[in-house]
Amino acid sequence: MAKYILKRIVRSLITVSIVFFVVFMPLRFMPLNGYFPDEMIKETDEATRMTYLRNLGLLDHPLIQLGRFVKNLFRGDLGRSITVYAKVPIATLLVEKIPVTAFLGFWSMLLGIVAGLAMGLMMVRFKDKLGDTLGNGYIMIVRAVPSLIYLFFIQIWVSKWFNLPLVYYDYKPLSWILPIVSLSLSSVAWYALWLRRFMVDEENQDYVKFATVKGLSKKAVLKKHVFRNAIIPLSAYLPSDLLNIISGSLVIETLYAIPGTGGLLTTAIKEQDNPLVQVLVLMYAVVSIFGVFFGDLLLAFVDPRIKLTED
């Protein structure tokens, strides 16, 4: 097992390095004007703009820039943002923003799992009845209707009905409710949908039919056999979900004015903030790859039938 873990870690690191390199190099070939807002292009001559870029090290050969970044990375220096937050240390930005996003993300994940599994159970328990129909209706709405529509509705009208704050404040717990609920809407649907599918699938297995024939009630069969087996494949996604809470949601963070990481990567790419893009890509690549890795480990842990090695 230790050998397997070591092998996966090495493979993960190689993958992260490839992803990083693939992102790093094209950034160096983006148009130079992209580093400047339109106003500055109009206000300054090209020589001044080149001076500005040169002093930021952006005119150096891409490999020199890569070497400098990696060297600083090993020193624990993530560099400074150049366009989105001029000269602000990226480490400072991450320390400011990740806790906000992660906090809301964690609670929304928890809500998504609890409410999603509860809804999934309800749909199976009342399969082809009202409970199932309501659950399917919810899933259909969340998946089919553009999210902006119902998110906006929740922000304006639900906040009005319950007199909740329209935007997020770190010192007003009531202002956390709508962002957390909004963030969890799709994961509730996701967990409910997949739990229902897995459970319906399990219900057709021979061991379930055997348990039913033995005289166990439907509730007991669902609880003791079906649910336990159906939850196993879902558990593989938990580490990814947990690690991804740092990535945030562009739409919800914009709607509720949450100063988190949602949209940070998009903005950084748009404004050609190379150091920020690099760090974020690196961070998200690590999170994604190790999320899958930990998911596999968790799967083997919760289901002893699953072996990760040939031994």
């Binding site: 292009i41 001559d45 500005y52 400074r80 001029a86 240390p89 009531l174």
Partner: protein
């Protein structure tokens, strides 16, 4: 089980309902609550151009002078000032006994002296500090241009003989800004600048800095409120990036008695609907209202409080390419009648209606420099000086036949009887990566309008196409629309005198940044950095030269007015509308804050009403303000 669920729900509801008292309408008239909608990069006022930062800095770092409620410049950190006859030397006496304060509002050991203004220029003069938008100040202050590029030559290895430290040490000898004594600073300018006080108001580059403190912080200077010092009416007491900024009254301020608000709170609200909703709930004191929302609001409870935004010094115009690769357009654009046909074909009110459907006429602008921005010594608006007055007041859309008539005259001069264009053969116009198309060298003239792929700009382009083809006639002109999707419009289409020139016409804007036409006009001479269409108009250049050499400010303005009129009468570029848009709702008592013309907002002296100001109240305040202003002047 059911009981537990019921109890939990009831508890949650009680919790929600009982805490609502914590929110809602604020009748606090001591703290002004407003918002910002986009992130800003840094508080380093030399290295950013973000509007929000300008607002914060304007209120936290005092300049030498400031506008009063009527827009007249009065003493700020400078108690008095003088200038020589040709406005090339300006001397300011600084207020004694002032100290920089930190983000807690406590006085630091740093005294505010004339040297801090010298050091501000020293800071921006070093390319390594990455100051933004240097052009105007760098070209104006004597020696600064050479100092900046001297350092740059050393930095990039072009000059290996000069020692950088020695050049930096010689700053005071080279650059025209000096501390004559502890409280006297003198600026020597390369050319006369009667508008210098307005430049002090508009440019953050002329603000002071505590150099030792800034140098000690290095790149950390201005990254947040704790890495700055303050000398204005407020200091930044709270700073949550992309969320909240709180300005608190500076109790050590030299004019603290006239600082009416104890605090100003900015919170980030990226969405216009949210800010409107928060205003209605009484959580903020101001919100802008887009014209699109006006119709929906005007019959509601806040309909009476919708106040039209007052002015914009930014002008939208059509930029013509005089050296593009389209031989048909290139031949025609050199012809004055053709340019006048375009000038007459563009219906300004129709274009204005895209932004301001209620009253588009208030957007119409025929001049490059904005009305209300520049005045001569007698208080006459620059745009009303002859001969510019005729251009400013013209109604180019008055005669529906004019565009066609001008075009017919152009066609008579440039085309053969069979409709072929003289000297033009069929060929390919390569404006890639935007568009590549064929032209046949015959009428109709192919005109390639290039815009961004922004939804509003696409609609604007389509309207332009329709109105030009209708006014001039499809038999004479064929407007081809192309949209740049690169996200780098200026790099792909135009925007630089060095090219690329991948357009025949595009839509752009220029803004009057201070109280002198030179801010724009010297940039668009034949050799100007902003003449991206590369026209050659020696008559215009000569008038600009005369203006710059004029003995008096009034004479200078007269020459500038002649120059601008010459350019516009020849339709070398075609101003269309101002960038003004929208309405606002506000609790601010109108005209109690300083009258800042050039893009800033000052809170010193501002008063807040207990209720939103209605348009009727606003108009009364305005009339009263006008009367007092006229009496004062």
């Amino acid at each position: 089980m059911k009981n537990i669920i019921k109890r939990t729900l009831a508890l949650a509801l009680v919790l929600v309902m009982s805490t609502t008292a914590l929110f809602g309408c604020s009748s606090d008239t001591d703290t002004y609550k407003t918002y910002f909608s986009t992130s800003y990069s840094s508080l380093n006022y030399y290295a950013t151009s973000y509007a929000t930062v300008r607002e914060i800095v304007t209120n936290c770092i005092d300049g030498l002078v400031e506008p009063d409620v009527y827009g007249n410049y009065v003493a700020s950190l400078a108690e008095s000032w003088t200038h020589n006859d040709d406005y090339t030397v300006w001397t300011f006496k600084i207020r004694a006994g002032q100290k920089w304060i930190d983000h807690t509002g406590a006085e630091t050991e740093y005294a505010l002296t004339a040297q801090d203004f010298v050091d501000g220029i020293r800071y921006i003069g070093d390319p390594l500090n990455g100051a933004y938008s240097l052009r105007v100040v760098r070209n104006l202050i004597s020696g600064l241009y050479d100092y900046y590029w001297g350092l740059d030559d050393i930095d990039c290895g072009l000059d290996t003989e000069t020692n950088r430290d020695e050049l930096v040490a010689s700053f005071s000898d080279i650059v025209g800004v000096k501390a004559l004594d502890e409280y006297t600073v003198e600026y020597t300018l390369d050319s006369g600048a009667p508008y210098f006080l307005s430049l002090i108001e508009s440019s953050m580059l002329l603000l002071p800095v505590e150099y030792d403190y800034a140098m000690e912080l290095g790149e950390d200077f201005g990254v947040d409120n704790e890495h700055m010092l303050y000398c204005g009416a407020y200091y930044v007491s709270e700073f949550q990036r992309d969320k909240l900024i709180k300005l608190t009254k500076n109790e050590h301020y030299w004019d603290a008695k006239n600082v009416t608000l104890s605090a100003v709170e900015y919170q980030m609200i990226p969405d216009g609907t949210t800010s409107l909703e928060m205003f209605q709930r009484g959580e903020i004191h101001y919100t802008s209202v887009e014209s699109e929302a006006y119709q929906a609001l005007k019959d509601g409870s806040l309909g009476d409080s919708l106040i039209p935004n007052e002015f914009s010094f930014s002008t939208n115009y059509l930029w013509l390419d005089y050296q593009g690769a389209n031989p048909e357009f290139n031949t025609f654009v050199q012809n004055e009648n053709f340019r006048k046909a375009l000038q007459a074909a563009v219906n300004r009110e129709s274009l204005g209606a895209l932004r301001e459907p209620v009253d588009p006429s208030r957007l119409v602008r025929n001049t490059i420099n904005a009305e209300g921005a520049i005045f001569n010594s007698e208080g006459v608006d620059y745009t009303q000086l002859e001969p510019l007055k005729a251009v400013a007041n013209a109604n180019y859309s008055a005669d529906p036949a004019a565009a066609r008539n001008y075009m017919e005259a152009a066609v008579a001069e440039l085309c053969n009887e069979d409709g072929t264009i003289k000297g033009v053969t069929a060929g390919t116009v390569d404006y890639l990566p935007v568009i590549k198309t064929e032209v046949d060298g015959k009428l109709p003239v192919s005109l390639i309008y290039v815009g961004t792929d922004d939804e509003d700009e696409i609609i604007l382009a389509q309207l332009f196409e329709a109105m030009v083809e209708e006014a001039i006639g499809k038999d004479y002109i064929d407007v081809v629309l192309a949209f740049d999707t690169s996200g780098d419009f200026y790099g792909t289409v135009g925007g630089s005198v060095d090219g690329p020139f991948n357009y025949d016409i595009y839509w752009d804007s220029l803004s009057t940044g201070y109280a002198d036409p030179s801010g724009i006009l010297t940039r668009i001479t034949s050799e100007g950095v902003e003449n991206v269409g590369c026209y050659n108009v020696p008559e215009f250049d000569a008038l600009i030269e005369k203006a710059l050499e004029a003995d008096t400010f009034d004479e200078r303005l007269n020459y500038f007015a002649q120059a601008e009129a010459y350019l516009l009468e020849g339709a070398y570029m075609i101003p269309v509308i101002s960038s003004l848009r929208g309405y606002h709702l506000s609790y601010e008592v109108p005209f109690t804050a300083p009258r800042c013309l050039y893009g800033n907002i000052r809170y010193k002296g501002m008063q807040i009403s207990a209720n939103p100001i209605t348009l009727e109240e606003y108009n009364k305040y305005e009339a009263d303000w006008e009367a007092k202003k006229n009496a004062a002047n």
